[in-house]
């Protein structure tokens, strides 16, 4: 009787509901407790300040903060690879990793262990020193760029005035590192990959910088926190106010961080693995981990610059703001996974053409438009809802221009009904070719 009761589905449902309630209550209290993490950082700083000098306290707290960021990034790498594989598996009607640990959650760990056990191969003719440095060095920009990210109120590690420029400068260090990785391998595929990377990154840094410039122009600052605050003060998301900048930043950044559809630097069907073809074991794993970490970093940048950071319609007062921020980040990351699961890859020349002939001129024009709008807003600040008006104008302009661009440049060439095969009326060679009926 008792056994029967426990195996009853009703009982299971009841217990699940009960557990959910407990979990919600616990979550509420925990979130109240952990609402503002700056309490902890102040506590740490004061703890050291009471016992040691200011300098040592500064050093110790900065190291602890850096450890916090590094551990977060490490956690992201572990969970992120699992998420990516599971989500892509769902896209591809597969199950994905599900054997190691619950739901396959330990699969990244198992992968890492497997990669570490592998032999580290160094090619005979490689430049040994330059070959061994890049897999380690490539972590530097990937970690450093997390510095000024605003996780929540009073929660950014580097609250500096040059935040955007800093991220931009640090991430540009990736280019020489990847180049050295490819060059030192002494492999034609690797060299091709690294040359592609350099060409692509140098081209796409321009649209990225132009889109970030318009963000700086609108908000009047380069500080991440102030950009987030500007958005909440004016109660508008920058992604809505200047949607073209968001698009440019997103697309150009996928080229910068080597994600589909712009992953031509390690295009596996063409140049096998690109710049890291000769790296084996954990070295290759490090390159892949950095690629993943950069994708999450892109999510964090977009959510702070364009999606209003830790604010979300007042929900930030109920849940810890950093949870909202991480949710937005994960949302962008899932968008990247979606792109990766659906799109083929561009060719190098197509990508460069798009950058130089479309994206850069359009960004420059967009920059001027934004400048005019900003000057209007600052000169006629007494008119209400001016920002809302410009938001509507900007969105409709972007939609209209995208439509026109497609009409003029692209769709005329490739109308689906014109390029579909036709059915042959009769069998034969060149003579019979002349009389094929059209399809319908």
């Amino acid at each position: 009787m008792i056994k029967k009761f426990f195996s009853n589905t009703l009982f299971i449902k009841l217990s699940i509901g009960f557990a959910t309630l407990i979990f919600l209550f616990a979550g509420y209290f925990i979130s109240k407790l952990l609402f503002d993490l700056s309490v902890f950082s102040e506590f740490i700083f004061n703890f050291f300040l009471e016992r040691f000098s200011y300098n040592l306290a500064y050093l110790a707290s900065s190291i602890i903060g850096a450890l916090g960021i590094i551990s977060f990034v490490g956690l992201v790498l572990l969970i992120g690879s699992w998420v990516e594989r599971r989500v892509i598996a769902r896209f591809q009607i597969r199950v994905g990793p599900n054997r190691v640990g619950p739901f396959g959650l330990l699969q990244p760990l198992a992968d890492a262990i497997k990669l570490m056990q592998k032999e580290v191969l160094v090619p005979d003719i490689a430049d040994k020193l330059l070959f061994l440095i890049p897999p380690v060095a490539i972590f530097l920009p990937a970690i450093l760029a997390w510095g000024p990210i605003p996780w929540g109120p009073n929660m950014s590690y580097l609250d500096i005035n040059v935040g955007i420029l800093y991220v931009f400068a640090v991430s540009s260090l990736t280019v020489p590192i990847i180049f050295f990785a490819g060059w030192s391998s002494m492999n034609h595929y690797a060299l091709l990959g690294s040359m592609r990377t350099v060409a692509m990154m140098v081209s796409y840094e321009i649209p990225v910088s132009l889109s970030l410039l318009s963000v700086a122009l609108v908000t009047g600052t380069l500080n991440f926190n102030e950009i987030v605050m500007w958005q909440s003060n004016n109660s508008i998301w920058l992604g809505l106010f200047i949607p073209f900048a968001l698009f440019t930043f997103f697309f150009a950044s996928t080229a910068e961080i080597n994600r589909t559809p712009n992953d031509i630097a390690e295009a596996e069907s063409e140049i096998v693995a690109g710049y890291h073809i000769e790296y084996s074991g954990m070295k290759a794993g490090l390159f892949m981990a950095v690629e993943l970490g950069n994708a999450v970093l892109l999510g964090a940048l977009i959510s702070s610059l364009f999606l209003n950071g830790w604010f979300l319609f007042g929900i930030e007062n109920l849940v810890p703001p950093y949870i909202i921020f991480i949710t937005k980040t994960v949302f962008i990351y899932l968008l990247l996974i979606w792109l990766r699961a659906t799109f083929p890859r561009f060719r190098l020349d197509q990508l460069m053409n798009f950058a130089w002939k479309t994206l850069i001129p359009a960004s420059i024009i967009h920059f001027f438009v934004v400048a005019i709008e900003v000057s209007i807003i600052s000169n006629f600040s007494e008119i209400p809802y001016l920002i809302v008006l410009f938001t509507v104008i900007n969105i409709s302009l972007v939609v209209l221009l995208a439509y026109l661009w497609g009409k003029i440049f692209h769709v005329q060439q490739y109308q689906p009904e014109k390029i579909q095969p036709r059915f042959a009326a009769s069998i034969g060679g060149l003579e019979a070719m002349k009389e094929v009926s059209s399809i319908d």
């Binding site: 009607i93 083929p344 890859r345 561009f346 197509q350 390029i419 069998i427 060679g429």
Partner: protein, 366 residues
């Protein structure tokens, strides 16, 4: 091969987009291919020589291994050639079953070809997985019929080896019901995808004159707009009784070859539906002598395999084994134009072109 301005790149034998142990030695200038040399033979098993030592029936498994992605079609071509030379007439039921299985194999092979083409264009295997879904179902049908999925060894001289089980027809019907929808899904997913069009449109254009002159056949020939299909031109297995159309491409680029394959899947579904309707009752195989000894003669019998004109040239001398057997391998001969197509194009374009020609290395090397 490499000059002062170029450097040498080995695409293969281990390379994701060569689809097997196939090697192209390329002289590159930057990203442009200046010259190439095709090196095959890594999978050469000397099938033609081996078959001279085995009886006609024992040779059937070799044909599986020639084109391992279209084993049924290869079985069929070989059995038809031997039946022709030995004057064996298979029962009507066997002929219809052969049509069903050959067309199923064509669908499976085209799914594989198109899926890998999209992977070569850089999609992260999602279309490949989608197309493998259909291929898996077809392979399940093969498995329940003859026990094997890849190297089926199903056709026999004078019929087919086994009668399909009863549940085969139910599963086949459900598959036929969903296949046209799936094809439409791929059309939505890929044929109107801007990036895919940009990657395949105007890439690897084969003019119809070149295609005919270079002995191309199958979707590679039809993609160039030449309406040539042996099922219509030289019907075998009663293909003249079925109602189906021949899709042909517009300009002969990679996109056209892709689309021709997609449309051919739909036509194959039509053929299978008609074949199921007219499937007669009766024997699935005639009795033939254990050691078949045809009269001294020669025959060149061609069928339309998934990759093109699959010919078996057999000479007999009255013995139990062929005196000489030559396989006209469509994959091998379709490669004739590779050098012309790839020279001057960029590496990604060459990869897509190679993928659109759809080679199977087992058939190239034999």
């Amino acid at each position: 091969m490499a000059t002062e301005d170029t450097y040498e790149l080995n695409i293969g034998p281990q390379h994701p987009s060569t689809h097997g142990v196939f090697r192209i030695k390329v002289a590159m200038n930057g990203e442009t291919i200046e010259d190439l040399d095709m090196i095959v033979g890594y999978l050469h098993r000397s099938m033609e020589k081996l078959s001279e030592e085995r009886t006609f029936t024992q040779n059937i498994p070799f044909t599986d291994r020639a084109d391992y992605l279209a084993a049924m079609s290869n079985n069929l071509g070989y059995c038809l050639a031997i039946e022709k030379i030995a004057d064996v007439i298979p029962p009507q039921r066997a002929t219809v079953l052969r049509v069903i299985f050959a067309e199923l194999q064509r669908i499976a092979s085209h799914a594989m070809a198109n899926g890998t083409l999209v992977s070569d264009a850089g999609a992260w295997q999602t279309p490949l997985m989608y197309m493998f879904r259909e291929r898996e179902k077809i392979l399940d049908l093969f498995e329940m019929t003859c026990g094997a999925r890849l190297t089926t060894n199903y056709m026999r001289i004078g019929g087919v080896a086994f009668e399909p089980p009863d549940e085969f027809y139910a599963q086949l019907n459900s598959l036929l019901g969903e296949l046209p929808d799936r094809v439409d899904e791929y059309m939505e997913m890929l044929s109107e995808n801007e990036i895919f069009i940009a990657r395949t449109k105007n890439v690897g254009i084969i003019t119809p004159e070149d295609a005919i002159n270079a002995s191309l056949s199958g979707p590679a020939l039809r993609g160039s707009g030449v309406p040539w299909d042996l099922r219509k031109a030289e019907p075998y297995c009663g293909y003249e009784d079925y109602d189906f159309e021949i899709p042909v491409g517009n300009i002969g680029d990679s996109y056209d070859r892709f689309m021709v394959r997609l449309f051919e899947v739909k036509e194959s579904v039509k053929i299978i539906k008609q074949a199921l309707n007219i499937l007669p009752k009766g024997m699935h195989k005639t009795q033939i002598p254990l050691a078949l000894r045809p009269e001294p003669d020669q025959v060149y019998f061609r069928t339309e395999g998934p990759r093109g004109e699959l010919g078996y040239f057999v000479i007999t001398d009255g013995g139990p084994a062929p005196y000489r057997m030559h396989i006209r391998a469509p994959s091998f001969i379709n490669l004739s134009l590779l050098k012309k197509l790839a020279t001057g194009s960029s590496l990604p374009d060459a990869v897509v072109t190679l993928g659109s020609i759809d080679i199977v290395v087992g058939e190239i090397d034999r």
